[in-house]
Symmetry: C2
Subunit: 109 residues, 2 copies
């Protein structure tokens, strides 16, 4: 799982991490603020954030003792691009198939 796309997909496979992304879309937040809503330890959330960071989905700043976390939304485009490529490809194939079936129906009648 060395490539970025894999890391991004796998980062977002976890509901807690998707939740963190959702929260960060609203605005930057410190690790403590992000951890507060969950009943897991702060360390666990810190680990989740590290996974998101390794995927390039977030970056961390440094203000006093706190590390404000920032969402890097452009990375999501990477996934969208991958998904859209194959979704569209499959869609077009179905469209062609429909056209062929339509044509067959016409010739038959």
């Amino acid at each position: 799982m060395t490539d970025q796309l894999s890391r991004v997909f796998s980062a977002l496979a976890d509901p807690t991490r998707r939740d963190l992304v959702a929260r960060l879309a609203v605005g930057d937040a410190t690790v403590g603020e992000l951890a507060a809503p969950y009943d897991v330890s702060v360390q666990a959330v810190s680990k989740h954030l590290r996974v998101l960071e390794d995927a390039g989905l977030v970056t961390k700043g440094r203000v006093a003792q706190t590390r404000p976390v920032h969402l890097e939304a452009e990375v999501l485009d990477l996934m969208t691009a991958w998904i859209e490529r194959y979704r569209r490809q499959a869609e077009e194939r179905y469209a062609r198939l429909d056209a062929v079936l339509e044509e067959m129906k016409e010739n038959e009648s």
Copy 2:
């Protein structure tokens, strides 16, 4: 990881499975055909296909002994919807921030 979105993300976190999806976007194929290009066992590919199936990304038919695998591309919309939601949200927030900064610069001069 009980919800579908998690299953879909995690299914696509594996390069081999993304590869299978790419292949299936071209057209349906049997398990054997799909396994041929890889140097892992057929069983391993069968497992991968099961993961994709559980995520709702593919379905399997039955023609004689073969099980033609079919890509269900609509499920990808689920991911796209999730991604786009937060990407756009973050984008709008940055746009607002830029506007504020712009305004501050004007007032300052």
